[in-house]
Symmetry: D2
């Protein structure tokens, strides 16, 4: 990492970047209010820091040999006027700001009518961002794969409904991108691109999505430790995109025998990631528990743990849903969750941060 | 399970019990306000329920073939005037009642002076019950095993300090019992006997402690699913002792690579156990996280998830502690935790239950 | 699944396929020596089996509602003259036949010279197939990503060396494909396309690779149960490609505390997959253990468990390697492993199968 | 650890022991053929090694600050004439010697007749040691707990049958001890005392059993990493008892979804423990897989991995068994397993060691 002097000129910065390139590394230039910091992308052990330290305009040059440095608290603090957190703006919504942000909608988009009806419901309940699955990751090739499973035309149609519903109800929209060939199409329609749990380890997808320079919601793989979760988020940051929203959604239940929940909701991951990075962290109680009757308490718990918001699957009639009916709640139930969570957040926010 | 008629007489109840014994089973007689229910302890498949159903005073007789039935919500509701929860009384403290209960104190008792100083501190901070380890379970035989590791005399001395400190600061006291030979001695000194995580699967210890008819705090093994946790609590209940306080304290972290916490705090276990049984559930953020800086947020999260209280390790000078210094907080920090948790609880309690 | 009569005509078969298409499903036509079986790809619950059963040439029509049916033992037996196993042919090598097959080579291709030197060594040691990584999946974006990390030109150059080395030393070649954009290029150069552990859940990649109709080596994700492993292999089979070689390579170590190996080598997965499917199963002791000194014993154990062969990382000078040096063995050590494994296999083969 | 000079006298050794006691530590005196080594039991950080080094007869004094030192390879080598392995003798059977050792018998003893019939069968099949459960650890208090569950008289009767069967068929006998109150009784009847998986973390039980100075079979907990497994074996060794036979029996299956086996058989634990300690290691394929049809292949795999023998549940009619019927094999099947394993062992033994 190279910290520039307060008054470093653009030419000096450009010069440092070129020096970095000479050693086969890329440069991440992060211009803060008071200071510019340049991160090295690639294996820093090849780089001559003592040489960099002597370049004009350089204040300090040091090796940071960790798998996640561009999203680290230290790097963020140095480059961003000493702020500990860096919210992600999506339209007029701020993820990681003072207010909690709620993302809600159906697991899978099934029809235009279904989507609009749910969009209206979750908006009324207080949601800020509309979700809807087009490309559904499924364990069985023989199951419904979302409308995207029927080909790119149907996918595009579903994406256009999502865009339209978001515009009508004034909510930015998010959908999951499961494969590289879906990136371009999806980027044209949505405000946030989601990388799902099953794709967390797919570094090529992360890079391709990162390059779109749109906000990314990045979900933890159910088999990943936190360090790996952060290390793969770094693939997005390495493309110069730091609008990354981390999302805890449950890990493999390890207890022997019956566990009663679909995954283990690792809520301690929330404060841990907040201490390690400057990124906002959401929680997804729907997938973590897989149980409608646990959404209320686990949503409040996630907010108490410090989550900046929640992603909750919602449907006007969960029993009718083609996918994940057992974990979806109605818009009325969503409203209760939002009200309680906001009250918990009001207690927590002055105490923490 | 045999449900007696509302006006069943003692003789009729006694008669049913004797019939049960004839089939090699034991009987758990649970007398509620309106109704008496008799649970069968042992393999119910041997029992002739159609015969039982015809005995005088019997309303209904049905087989319940699950590993935990004496602590189940259904059994509790039938026998206890329809109440969903059955608080555990310890002195004038009610665990599982309207107020949160805080258990605090040092990981290990090191000296009388250390214990009294901490007792004074945690009392002042708002704790209700005093903890202190005498028989410490340790991974290495070469580590400090608590004063109980120096023989039964030292153990008894430490237990007497604990009793004295509890009396002086008006807090019931709790300590962990690690082996069967420690049961009698410990039962003479403490109000709650704790079975620690490592001993959860030790059914002989659970039975021996259960027979003491004192409240038991029962901690989940770090490798146990929830069903196994409940099934082993049933060993205590099978001794006629239902004053069981369940405690979630973290399970093995399963994520690949570095996880940043000592265990994974499975907070969803709290509402799950509350749905499956009538027992109160506490949470132990100290062992679950192993990190002092996470105690505050994870305590609030546990309370939001519905915990009836917390068990927190506290020390006036954590750095000095012989065991677990990295996870203990000071009495002043404890007070902040208690204040915040009480405020979260105030939001949650009218909404839930 | 639809079982055709012994003498069913092509027209009858075609007719059944078209009927299946009418219900939004795809058809997998499997022509065995004596009989043709047609599998339904998609949600069979939509299909009218009683209608299918009456079509000309149909012997039997039944719903099989499992996530892996096209690779299942039952489907294989019905369609393939009653054979329990279906070997995969790669050039003149048969994976899953009477002889064990050894895949060996460097973790990552670093230079043409390095690759050829290793190829010569592993050929001499007795290996049948040459491996070499071009697109390396890595936890850190800042680590060496294989020569493919330097762009598609370098990737193609490395792939051409692999092809050349395979041709020179008469070994088919295999490399890992990490992302969809690498599929076309790689398919032009190699005989077997590998889907690595981190990409097991990437269904779009599996489908894209499946469509190439080349043999695929499919590795289990370190967080996947066996059913999920099989279910995602079904994505390849659903493209009409059954030349799938399964590979057990270790799962997340779950034991609390230090485990001494990188992963837990789940050798029981080998006979389990052989009982559930008709596919050959290899084992990768290099990644499973991460320890050079365990390769010998765990290779023999894998063969005793019934593996059809092994994939072993090998390098003339492991200390020099840029990736995974600690788990690679020299060609001389590889020869010892192969000799011992062949002797174990000679004992096992007449007893089993 | 204190290494004495080759000709150190008993008085010098005794003197060192007394010096060690002065610092609150215990001493483990290990007299090898050429040399005596004294291990320190307890927290070595309290001990003045520079002082010890100057005592008469002392060659070297050094701190070894690991949780398992008395069973470590280094300690064994120093004290035992440089031998890497230290077999455990049980009657005229040697566990960890040149020949494989087979322990077989029913999961639970149900009657004298059942036991004798099985004993006859397994002896004929080639087993060396007879097992039979009296005190069965069970997840449900309502399940059959072995004859020991009916009280100490029935327990003693079952133990006497086991002794009698062992004497009649000339096999040493082994049974599991589940609680401290069972130790004295059991020690009077059996040759090897087993600590089962569920009790691995029960340090008081390990100490109590260790003090009996009889061979102990110590099974890994299904949630324990290898280091913890070794650290708790050290509790036995700390009582001066090194006749410890380690046994791998499977760990919690971590893969998401269905796994097809009861536990994950961690065969790499076998060579790892052989590298870390001087203790013999057995494997238990019955509990590890829970499937009769996998016993054959996984037994051979365990032997190929280096196991010194196997513990296999056997019954003349598995379907009739009250406990674990699905994993038991008949004596005839056992014979096939033994024959194949011996042939695999014949290949492995000259190569390794």
């Amino acid at each position: 990492m190279i910290v520039m002097k307060a008054g470093a000129t653009d030419t000096e910065i450009q010069n440092v970047v070129e020096e970095i390139h000479k050693y086969g590394l890329a440069a991440d230039v992060s211009r803060g209010e008071f200071r510019t910091v340049i991160g090295l992308v690639g294996d820093e052990r090849k780089a001559p820091f003592s040489h960099f330290a002597l370049l004009p305009g350089v204040k300090e040059a040091m090796m940071i040999d960790t798998p996640y440095k561009l999203i680290s608290k230290e790097y963020g603090k140095l480059s961003d006027s000493g702020n500990e957190f860096r919210p992600v703006k999506v339209g007029n919504i701020t993820v990681g700001g003072d207010e909690l942000v709620y993302i809600a909608g159906p697991c899978a988009i099934e029809s235009k009518q279904q989507l609009f009806k749910i969009a209206e419901g979750v908006k009324r309940a207080g949601a800020h961002i509309l979700r809807g699955g087009v490309f559904k990751p499924r364990s069985s090739v023989h199951s419904f794969q979302g409308l995207g499973g029927n080909g790119m035309e149907e996918a595009e149609e579903a994406l256009s409904w999502l865009r339209e519903a978001g515009d009508m109800y004034e909510m930015p929209v998010i959908t999951e991108v499961r494969g590289e060939t879906q990136v371009d199409l999806t980027a044209r329609y949505v405000d946030i691109m989601q990388i799902g749990s099953r794709n967390m380890y797919d570094q090529d997808l992360a890079s391709a999505i990162g390059r779109k320079q749109k906000p990314v919601l990045f979900k933890r793989h159910f088999g990943a430790g936190i360090e790996e979760f952060l290390s793969f988020a770094e693939y997005i940051a390495a493309e110069g995109n730091k609008d990354i929203i981390m999302c805890e959604r449950g890990i493999i239940p390890v207890g022997k025998g019956k566990n009663f929940t679909r995954y283990t909701f690792d809520l301690a991951a929330i404060p841990v990631i907040q201490k390690e990075t400057f990124l906002p962290v959401l929680a997804d109680p729907s997938h973590a528990t897989g149980r409608r009757d646990l959404i209320f308490s686990m949503s409040c718990a996630a907010v108490a743990a410090g989550a900046s918001g929640l992603m909750i699957e919602s449907h006007y009639d969960p029993k009718e849903a083609l996918v994940d009916g057992s974990q979806m709640i109605t818009p009325d139930e969503l409203k209760e969750v939002i009200d309680a969570c906001n009250r918990v957040h009001a207690i927590m926010s002055p105490v923490k941060r």
